[in-house]
Amino acid sequence: MSILELKNVSKAFGQLKVTDDVSFAVPEGQALGIIGPNGAGKSTLFNLITGNLTADTGTIAFEGTDVTKVPAMQRCFAGVGRSFQIPQPFDNLTVFENLLVAAMHGRNTNQAAVEQACADILLQTELMPVANAPASGLSLLQRKRLEMARALATDPKLLLLDEIAGGLTDAECVALIDTIKSIHARGVTIIWIEHVLHALTSVVERLLVLDFGKVIGIGAPDEILNRQDVREIYLGIDV
């Protein structure tokens, strides 16, 4: 069964069509990577899935239920968790409180155990040493980890990661991939926008290519990355 299904979804800002008749489905438990040049509409697509933006036309179904008009907050309850491309921590709260607010408000499961759940996520994402530090003082890697940790605190069934590996060193990237793999291994469905291809392909089972808001290909990573049109558009290789 598909956990997420988009049918003919379009979104325009004025005359500019940033999402153009996009249709795809993600089976439960799968990790899907999304690639595309800058400005292809990748983050907009995420905002449509999370409800931070509303689609002009088309439908978005989560676990078989139409959520096209459902606000972000309720999609979070349903099980959609996200990270932002530019980390957006709650600066005046501590790292632990950033997770706590997400766990208290974003999950519809057992409220009694939220503090322990946050502690477990802090350990999993290696943020425990800075648990009581204000989020405003974190390094880039820590901010990226916090984005992921805060999304996990809502106990998502579907986790959307937006360029979570961007700007990290190779060593930091390897550590982050391990964490993402362990989350995926627990059965969480992942959709991951990323320019760092080796990071992406080491986790995802399928790749989707977006260009000018349109889906130009979806399939196994090897097959997609070897397609001539994808190489021209995305990798800039003239074949």
């Binding site: 931070n52 979070c76 921590p89 709650f90 600066d91």
Partner: protein, 358 residues
């Protein structure tokens, strides 16, 4: 509050040693202030009434702007509507002024609903100006209300103030005239309102909605993405702030016993001074308005004879504090000492790995 998690591994605490001392000191101070009319003169009681009511207005503006991120310059709308509703209750419905104070709070709450409906469509400086305009509209409406004195205003009926609840008992207890007894009564009510406001705001900040409020202030879009109902939080804060401000407005005018639209809806008295108090004390903290109101009162007493130079000096001090210490005097003190008298931070400790503050 100390919360034990389900397994003994991790513990979440908000209390600090300073906050425990504060709790004891606050109880002692409250008891001393309750008993003060037994030893203090009428002048001091009147001064403290002013300080306490300004503190209530400052705490609610701080809740709105410092915690809710809604910088309003229209709080005089709720002071004025609260005061006029109390006058209406007394003059038109014959209610005793003391229970009519509650009517003031409810009236402010009711007018806050359409106010929020319009003002929430505005952001930042537009919200600030919008709230001011709405307050002016309310002033003009009350100036047209002839049954409550129209543009020139009116006074509470002599019978209503003379026979006000509990004044006879207080007059006998302290062996004072009726007017002095009324001052003691309104002082006690101001003390109760200030203590209850601080306790309620502190309880809110330590609760689940309080944490959500901080998240919305820091980043509304991210807050929505983690399930926080940002819109509802704005309503809760705006309406609570209006209710508290309305109660304070009604109480202030029970003590004044005379009202006019220009005074009750004065942007200087009920918003500019309140802004000054919160900004110099420290916005976004409960301690800030407490320090701010003390400094404001001292400045007002020192500069009382200097007319417009008084306002000029307040303005200069306000600008200097904003430039040198944007988080106010309490911000400076916290930075230097780390002391928090009303801590809201939830600290995680215990477990197998160390957590630390950096």
């Amino acid at each position: 509050m100390t919360t034990q998690t389900q397994t003994p591994a991790y513990v979440v605490t908000t209390q600090t040693k300073a906050s425990q001392i504060t709790a004891v000191a606050a109880c002692a101070l409250l008891a001393a202030l309750v008993l003060l009319p037994f030893v203090a003169g009428r002048g001091l009681i009147q001064d403290l009434f002013f300080v306490l009511t300004m503190l209530v207005l400052a705490q609610f503006w701080n809740l709105l702007a410092g915690y809710g991120g809604m910088v309003s310059i229209g709080q005089q709308a709720f002071v004025g509507m609260g005061a006029y509703a109390m006058f209406g209750g007394v003059i038109l419905a014959g209610i005793d002024p003391i229970p009519a104070i509650l009517l003031g709070g409810v009236a402010a709450l009711i007018v806050a609903i359409p106010t929020a409906f319009f003002a929430f469509r505005l952001q930042g400086p537009y919200f600030a100006i919008g709230t001011w305009v709405i307050a002016e509209v309310m002033r003009l409406i009350m100036a047209q209300t002839q049954s409550l004195g129209g543009g020139t205003g009116t006074s509470l009926p002599r019978a209503a103030t003379r026979e006000m609840w509990a004044t006879e008992w207080i007059a006998e207890l302290f062996d004072v005239r009726n007017s002095a007894a009324r001052d003691i009564l309104t002082y006690w009510l101001a003390l109760a309102l200030a203590a209850a406001s601080i306790a309620a705001i502190y309880a809110l900040l330590r609760s689940k909605p309080g944490l959500a409020l901080s998240a919305v202030r820091d980043n509304p879009e991210a807050a929505k993405s983690v399930g926080v109902d940002a819109g509802r939080m704005k309503w809760v804060v705006f309406l609570s702030s209006a209710f508290g401000t309305g109660l304070a407005g009604a109480l202030i005018y029970v003590q004044k016993a005379r009202i006019s639209p220009d005074a009750a809806f004065s942007v200087t008295d009920w918003t500019a001074y309140v802004l000054f108090i919160v900004i110099i004390g420290g916005i976004g903290t409960i301690e800030g308005p407490i320090i701010g109101v003390i400094i404001f009162f001292l400045l007002q007493s020192l500069l009382a004879d200097f007319g417009s130079w008084y306002l000029f000096t307040l303005g200069i001090i306000g600008i200097l504090v904003m430039l040198i210490a944007p988080r106010g005097l309490w911000g400076l003190i916290t930075d230097k000492t780390g002391i928090q008298l009303f801590p809201v931070r939830r600290r995680l400790s215990g477990g197998t790995q160390d957590t630390s503050d950096t």
